[in-house]
Every structure is written in structure tokens, then in C-alpha cells.
């Protein structure tokens, strides 16, 4: 990540030198840093709420029941995670919350899943295959109802704001399949393992 990050920052500076917008960078840097803190702190409330509710659901046996429902699928996707491991329950909750468009709940579940997967990680700080796959799946945005976009379309006066629903589902399913296939293929190459 150090390489990617440095590349992004340096190419921004070089481009700004050419476009004559170096002066704008200073403001952008301070603004972005402040915004990052606002975003992270904004997560604290929902994070706390959903982590609490998840614990309640866990003790009631709900999480396990949900996890058992999709166990065959999860075992294929994440063979290195032992059956009954709490990471599985968190991952299933995260993926279902995403599917239902409950972004607020999906993030805390996903974060917890990542932390639980980290307990299985022999090399702390280096993503495991399961963590990389899970992260990639989360960036594919598979959701039944893209509520934000539908609201934007309705606001812009669309005759049928929700008509893009099916197309969106197909497109994000394609993204999800590619995420899984590429992550699985690249995992076999042991990318970044040797270093």
C-alpha cells in the first residue's frame, strides 16, 4: 500500500505542477485530512450501535442460524476459515446488510469480520487470502435496491426512477463474480507472499 499511496501523492504533485494548481493542493490536503476525521467519527455512532445489536443477536443464537444457512457457500469462498468461527457470522451479516442496502449496518459488521479474520492471520498486518477476498467482495456493491441512485433519479424528475434496478443488479453481480474470480486466481499466485 505504501507504493500505491506514494504513487498517488507524487502524481498529484506532478500534475499540479503542470496544470499550475499547486496552490490549490495545500487547501485540499488540509480539507481532506479534516474530512477523513469527520467521516471516521461519523462512523462511531452507528458502529457502536450495530456492534451492540450484533452481540445481542449473537447471544440469542441468531447470528449462528444465519451463518448456518449459507455455510456451504461460505465454506467454498473461505475454506481457510474454520467452521463455527465468529468471522463467518460477521461476514454473512455484512454481506446480507449490503444486499439489503443497510450500509450503516454493513460497515460495522464488515469491520468486525476483518478483525476476526485477523485473529486467524499468522502474519499480522499482511492481508490473508480470506481478507483480500472479503474486501474485494465488499467493493462490488451487490444490493437489491440502489436506494441512493433511485432517490437522485426521482429528484431529477425521472418518469421511472427505479427502472435501472434490474440493470444495476446484473452489473453489480458481474462485478462480484469478477472480484471473487480475480481474488481467487491472484491468491494462487501468492502475490506479495514472498516479500
Amino acid at each position: 500500500m505504501g507504493l500505491v499511496w506514494t504513487f498517488l501523492v507524487v502524481s498529484a504533485l506532478v500534475t499540479a505542477a503542470f496544470t499550475g494548481s499547486v496552490a490549490a493542493l495545500t487547501g485540499a490536503i488540509a480539507d481532506s485530512a479534516g474530512m477523513a476525521v469527520t467521516v471516521a467519527l461519523g462512523l462511531v455512532g452507528v458502529m457502536t450501535l450495530w456492534l451492540g445489536l450484533m452481540k445481542v443477536a449473537e447471544e440469542a443464537g441468531l447470528v449462528n442460524q444465519v451463518a448456518r444457512l449459507v455455510r456451504p457457500l461460505m465454506r467454498r469462498l473461505f475454506p481457510e476459515v474454520p467452521a463455527g468461527h465468529p468471522a463467518l457470522g460477521s461476514m454473512v451479516l455484512n454481506l446480507s446488510a449490503n444486499l439489503l442496502g443497510l450500509g450503516n449496518a454493513a460497515t460495522p459488521f464488515g469491520v468486525r469480520a476483518m478483525q476476526e479474520l485477523e485473529t486467524l492471520n499468522p502474519r499480522k498486518g499482511v492481508a490473508t487470502d480470506a481478507q483480500a477476498l472479503f474486501a474485494a467482495m465488499n467493493t462490488a456493491s451487490l444490493q437489491l435496491v440502489p436506494a441512493t441512485v433511485i432517490a437522485l433519479r426521482a429528484g431529477a424528475g425521472s418518469r421511472a426512477p427505479a427502472e435501472i434496478l434490474g440493470a444495476t443488479l446484473v452489473a453489480s453481480a458481474c462485478g462480484l463474480v469478477v472480484a471473487v474470480v480475480v481474488a481467487k486466481l491472484l491468491a494462487r499466485l501468492h502475490l506479495g507472499d514472498a516479500r
Binding site: M1, W5, S11, A12, L13, T15, A16, T19, S21, L25, A28, D31, L41, L43, M47, L51, K55, V56, A57, E58, E59, A60, L62, L100, P108, V111, M114, Q115, E118, K124, G125, V126, Q131, A132, F134, A135, A136, T139, S141, V145, T148, V149, L152, S158, R159, A160, A162, E163, I164, G166, A167, T168, A171, S172, C174, G175, V178, A179, V182, L189
Partner: protein, 176 residues
């Protein structure tokens, strides 16, 4: 609309339903809630450093005009395959900044209309992809992971696939 009702009810129903079900299972609901919620603040704070790093880099890229430059450079390649120039900034910006992406979508919906080819295309593209860099920064950051290994290429290729599929599906379904 049914979907509106569903999304309006989903969260309150879960917030009330989970404790109610737990109560019937004789769970000490309040104690369990506090026990689980304990880690929320800490996790939020843990996300700050990686998020500052990623958002500063992306903020610099935007302010420097690099994103626009990439979009302009790609335009002659992508317009022949049915990607209008107005939609192109979205392809570049979507994985980097959720706010900026919604800005582009809003722009296209306003100027070309939500029921135009470009309007439908930005809608599907935006709805079927995620703000990849933000998601990775939050998830990996919270777990203390600094080496993403193949997560980034897999996620970016997924974005590319989602957008390509959006282009194809919108053409097939709506023409244009």
C-alpha cells in the same frame, strides 16, 4: 412504493426485533448490548489514520486536475464503444471518491435528464460499484492491515467489470 416502505422499516424493525427475539431466548439484552458496543469507539478511532492517508491522497489528485486529465486522455478511446464524454469522469472518480461520484451523477441527470442514455448509464454505473479505496481503507485499517496484497487489483478489476457490464446491459435493455 413497496420498496420505499421496505427500506423505511428495515432498520427500525431490526433495532427493535433483535432485542425482542433475544429476550424470548432469555438473553440479558442490555448487558449484551453494552458488551458488544464497547469496541465501537475504539474501532472508529482506529480507522482515522488510514482514512486520513487515503483521503488526503485522493483530495490531492482531485485538486491537481489529475483525474480530469485521465478522463480527457481516455475519452477518444471510450467514446467509440458508447461511453459519452459526460459519463467518463464517473469511471475515473467512482473508485476514489463517493461524494465526487454522486456529484458527477447529479450533473449528468440534471443536464441530460435521468431517462436519457447517459442518465441511465451513470445511474447503473454508480449503483453497481463502490468507493473502492474508501472501503479498503476502512476495513483493512480497522484490522491494522498495511499490506493489501491482491485485494486492490481484484477490487479495481471488479469495478471495471461492473462498469463494462453496466454499459452492455443499459444498451441491451434501453438501447442508445
Amino acid at each position: 412504493m413497496v420498496l420505499d416502505t421496505l427500506s423505511a422499516w428495515a432498520v427500525p424493525l431490526l433495532v427493535a426485533g433483535i432485542p425482542l427475539y433475544a429476550l424470548t431466548r432469555k438473553v440479558n439484552v442490555y448487558a449484551a448490548f453494552l458488551e458488544g458496543a464497547k469496541g465501537g469507539f475504539e474501532t472508529g478511532i482506529r480507522i482515522v489514520p488510514p482514512l486520513v492517508a487515503v483521503l488526503v491522497a485522493l483530495g490531492m489528485l482531485r485538486a491537481s486536475g489529475a483525474l480530469d486529465a485521465v478522463a480527457r486522455a481516455l475519452a477518444p478511446l471510450l467514446e467509440p464503444i458508447g461511453l459519452p464524454a459526460s459519463v467518463l469522469p464517473l469511471v475515473v472518480i467512482r473508485p476514489l471518491s463517493g461524494g465526487a461520484a454522486l456529484g458527477v451523477v447529479g450533473d449528468v441527470l440534471r443536464t441530460e435528464g435521468p431517462d436519457s442514455y447517459a442518465g441511465r448509464l451513470v445511474s447503473v454505473m454508480c449503483g453497481s460499484t463502490e468507493t473502492t479505496f474508501y472501503v479498503l481503507a476502512v476495513y483493512f485499517g480497522a484490522a491494522g492491515i498495511t499490506r493489501y496484497r491482491h485485494a486492490l487489483p481484484a477490487a479495481l478489476l471488479a469495478d471495471l467489470a461492473g462498469m463494462t457490464a453496466a454499459l452492455v446491459v443499459v444498451r441491451l435493455l434501453f438501447g442508445g
